[in-house]
Amino acid sequence: MSELAVAMFAASTDSHLLDEPRSARFERFRAELDEPSILADLDRRGIRWVARGAPGYPARLRRIHDPPPGLFIRGAAELTLFDAPCVAVVGARACSSYGAAVAAELARGLARAGVVVVSGLARGVDGAAHRGALDTGTTVAVLGCGVDRDYPRAHRLLATSIVERGLIVSEYPPGVEPAPWRFPARNRIVAGLCDATVVVEARERSGALITADLALDESREVLAVPGEITSLLSKGTNHLLRLGAIPVTCLGDVLAVVGLTPVPQVPALIEPRLEVIRAAVADVPAAADELVRKTGLPAGVVAATLAELELAGVVVQADGLYRAVMAVS
C-alpha cells in the first residue's frame, strides 16, 4: 500500500481516508502520482514524511482505531520524541488569564520533567501550553492544515520557535487550507499521540472536549483543571470531572499519570521586600492600586516590585490584574 498516495488523494478530494479506496478514480490518481518527485520536493522544503508502516511513526498513534496513513513533519527535533511520555494540554481559545497561566505553568513543569507537551497551536490555552513547554523543554503542535501554513497567523512567531526546538505535524500535505471539519480529525491525532490529555478550560461544547472524548475512546487518561463553578469557561471541565476525569490540583497529579515524580524545584529566592507584594497577590489576583492600599507602599515602589516579580517569573499580569504563578510543583 502507498500511504503517501492515500494521504495526497484524501487531501485532493477533501475526504477522510485511512486505507486505499477501491475506486477507478484512486487508481488513476495513483498512476499519475509521481511519488519520488513529491518526496524530493518535501525534502527540499525540510518536511519529513513518515508513513504508517515506517519506523519512526508514533507507536501510540498507530494503536488508535483510525490512525492517519502518515504524518508530514516539520521541525528540528528527532522523531524519537514520540517515544517519550507525551501529554496533551488543550482548552478554550478564548480562555481567561487564569486558564492561560495554568496551561503555561503546567506545560513548563511537564517539560521540565521530560514530558513532551502536545497541543493544537490554537489561540488561548494551546498557545500558552506551547509557550510554557518551550521555556523548559520541547513541544509538538498538531495542525488541521498543511504544516507549512502556520495557522493561526497570530502564532507565526510561536510556530517558528516550535520548528527550532520541537515538531509541527499534520496528516495533511503542505498547502492544505484549514477547514472546520479538519479540526476534530486533528484532535484525534493530539489525543492519539499522548498518554494523557489535560483539559484546562472548556465551554460546554468545545473542541477540547472532543479531544477528551477521543482520548477516552482509546482508553487514555483524561484530566481536567477545576474552575470556578460560575464561569462558562469551567462548564466543560467541571462536567468532565463529574464524569470521572482526574482533577488536576498540582503538577504532580499529571506526572503521576505518566509514572513520573515531580523534579524537586529549588524555590526561587525572594527578597523580603518582594515577598510582601507576592504574598498580597497569592490568594486573589489584584490590581496595582489595590496592592498600594493593602501594603501602604507608594505606587512607584509597588510598580517596581511587581516588575521585579514578573521578571523572576513569580507573578504574571493580564489586563491590569496581577496574580501569583500557581505553585504547581
Binding site: 490590581a287 510598580a303 521578571l311
Partner: protein, 488 residues
C-alpha cells in the same frame, strides 16, 4: 480722492500685509470691492454701508466707490477687512483726516449698527503691524489685550464712531481691561485632588509630566481615564514667554482664545473626538490652511480617547508631528508650517465591547475581534508611547476613599524633576544596566522598548531626586512597558 489703510491677512498663522485702497470718483453710483475677496469679504459692502450710516457719517452716495485689496493676487478671507475698508472710504470722502491714519493698522468686523466685533487672529495681525513698522492697531476693544501682546499700541474701540472720533483727535482710546492673571487661569484647570484611588495611574501621570512622556491608558470604560488626562496640564510648568506667544498666536487664529485673555500661560488641553478628519487633526482645510488639533495642543496636551476608533489615516498622520514637533501642510495653491510639539495622552478599551478588565461586565468579544481591535494601532504609533498602563475598574469602596493629593504638591515635584533632568540628568548605574539587560533577555522587550524603559527610568530617578538611575527605577519603568500581546 484716493485714501489708503493697512491691515493684515492671515496665511496659515502668518500675517501678510494688505493695503486697502479706496477710490471715490464721479460717475454712476456704485460700490465695488476688487482684489480676490472671498464671500465674507464681499459682504463687507453691506456691513460697511450700514455702519457708516449708524455712526451718523455720510456715505458718498452720489459717487463711484472702488475698494482695492492689494496685493491683488493674495486670496482675502474673512470679515476683518470691514474696519479698514470703512476707514479708507471715510478718509477718501474727507470725513477722517487721511494723515491721522499714518502709523495705524486696522482690523475688525463691523455690525449693521456700527459696533465693532472681534475677529480671530488679532494677535497675528498685530504682529504683522509691528513688523510693518506701524505703532497702532485700531481693533475691537475685546481684541486689545491680544494686540498689546505683540508690542503694538492697541486702539480698542466699541463702535465705528469711536474709531472716527479717535482719528479726528477728539478723544483718547479706552484703556483695555487688564488681562487675567496667569495663576487665576491655572485655578480653572481641574485639580488632581478630585481623583480618588487610581494610585498607579496618578503615578504614571506624574512621571509623564516630569519627563514629557507620551502615555497610553488601557482599561474598561468608566475608570477615569479621561478625568486623569484632563488633569495633566495642572502638573505641567507654565509656559515661558516665547512658548506662550506661539501658543497664543495659534489660538488667536483659530478663535479659541477666551475673550479678554492675555498670553496663554497654562499648557493647552485638546481632546478631539475620534470621528475627527485628518485635516481637522493635522491642519489644512479647503479654503485657507488652518491649524489642526495637533497645533492647538502645541506645548500642551493632546488627548485621544478611544484611540483605536480613530481612522487609520488619522493615526498614521500623527507620526510626523510626534517626530518633528511641527506639521507642514501643502495644498496646490499654498503651503503652511504649523508648530505641533505636544504631549500625547491616549486611552483605549481592552476590547471593542469594553467589558474586558471589568469584573462586573462580561466581555463577549472573540479573540479575533480583540486582535483586530488592537491591530488598528500600528507598531510605529505604539512605539511613541513611553508609558503604557492598564487601569482596571476600581471597586466601589475605593471611590469612597479620601481625596487624592492636590495638583500643586505633585507639580512641585514635577518642576524639581524637570530642573534636574535639564541640568544634571541621572546616569544609569551598573546594577541598573544589569537589570535592564536581564529584562531584555527574559521579557519580550524590543530594542525600542529598551530605549523607552531607559528614558522613563531616568525620569523616575529624577523624580526621586537620585543622582544615578538605580535598579528600582528601571524596575518601575519596566512595569509601565507595552504588554506582551502588543509587543510581538
Amino acid at each position: 480722492m484716493l485714501a489708503r489703510t493697512v491691515t493684515h491677512a492671515l496665511v496659515g498663522i502668518d500675517p501678510r500685509r494688505v493695503e486697502v485702497e479706496a477710490h471715490i470718483q464721479g460717475g454712476i453710483p456704485s460700490f465695488a470691492i476688487v482684489g480676490l475677496a472671498d464671500r465674507a469679504c464681499q459682504e463687507a459692502k453691506a456691513r460697511v454701508r450700514s455702519s457708516v450710516a449708524a455712526a451718523e457719517l455720510e456715505w458718498p452716495s452720489s459717487a463711484r466707490v472702488t475698494i482695492n485689496l492689494a496685493p491683488a493676487a493674495l486670496r482675502k478671507e474673512g470679515s476683518g477687512f470691514d474696519l479698514p475698508i470703512a476707514l479708507a472710504v471715510l478718509a477718501a470722502s474727507y470725513q477722517v483726516p487721511a494723515r491721522s491714519l499714518e502709523g495705524h493698522a486696522a482690523f475688525g468686523e463691523l455690525g449693521l449698527d456700527g459696533r465693532l466685533r472681534p475677529v480671530p487672529g488679532a494677535l497675528v495681525a498685530a504682529e504683522g503691524a509691528r513688523r510693518a513698522g506701524l505703532t497702532h492697531l485700531v481693533c475691537a476693544l475685546e481684541s486689545a489685550p491680544e494686540v498689546a501682546l505683540a508690542g503694538v499700541e492697541p486702539v480698542g474701540v466699541r463702535h465705528l464712531g469711536e474709531a472716527v472720533s479717535y482719528l479726528r483727535g477728539e478723544h483718547e482710546p479706552l484703556e483695555p481691561p487688564p488681562p487675567e492673571d496667569d495663576f487665576e487661569m491655572l485655578a480653572c484647570v481641574p485639580d488632581l485632588a478630585d481623583v480618588r484611588g487610581q494610585e498607579r495611574a496618578r503615578r504614571a501621570l506624574e512621571i509623564a509630566a516630569a519627563g514629557g512622556h507620551n502615555l497610553l491608558f488601557a482599561g474598561p470604560p468608566g475608570t477615569g481615564k479621561t478625568m486623569l488626562a484632563r488633569r495633566l496640564p495642572s502638573l505641567l510648568p507654565l509656559l515661558g514667554d516665547e512658548a506662550a506667544l506661539e501658543v497664543t498666536r495659534i489660538h488667536s487664529v483659530c478663535g479659541t482664545l477666551p475673550p479678554g485673555a492675555g498670553l496663554v500661560r497654562v499648557p493647552p488641553f485638546r481632546a478631539p473626538h475620534h470621528s475627527s478628519s485628518v485635516a481637522g487633526l493635522i491642519g489644512g482645510g479647503a479654503g485657507s490652511l488652518r491649524p489642526g488639533e495637533v497645533s492647538l495642543a502645541h506645548r500642551g496636551v493632546l488627548f485621544l480617547d478611544e484611540l483605536p476608533e480613530f481612522q487609520r489615516p488619522v493615526l498614521e498622520a500623527l507620526r510626523q508631528p510626534l517626530e518633528d514637533g511641527f506639521v507642514s501642510v501643502a495644498r496646490v495653491a499654498m503651503r503652511a508650517v504649523f508648530p505641533a510639539r505636544f504631549q500625547l495622552i491616549a486611552a483605549m478599551n481592552l476590547c471593542p465591547c469594553g467589558g474586558r478588565g471589568d469584573p462586573a461586565a462580561r466581555c463577549a468579544c472573540t479573540p479575533e475581534r480583540i486582535q483586530r481591535y488592537r491591530e488598528k494601532l500600528s507598531r510605529a504609533l505604539l512605539d511613541r508611547f513611553d508609558l503604557v498602563i492598564t487601569v482596571p475598574r476600581p471597586r466601589g469602596h475605593e471611590l469612597a476613599g479620601p481625596a487624592g493629593e492636590r495638583s500643586a504638591a505633585v507639580r512641585a515635584r514635577v518642576l524639581a524633576a524637570r530642573e534636574r533632568l535639564r541640568t544634571a540628568p541621572p546616569v544609569r548605574s551598573a546594577p541598573a544596566d544589569e537589570l535592564l539587560e536581564r529584562a531584555v533577555e527574559h521579557l519580550p522587550l524590543s530594542g525600542r522598548g529598551h530605549a523607552r524603559v531607559a528614558r522613563v527610568a531616568a525620569t523616575i530617578a529624577a523624580l526621586a531626586g537620585a543622582g544615578d538611575v538605580l535598579p528600582e527605577h528601571v524596575a518601575e519603568a519596566l512595569s509601565y512597558r507595552l504588554p506582551r500581546e502588543a509587543d510581538g
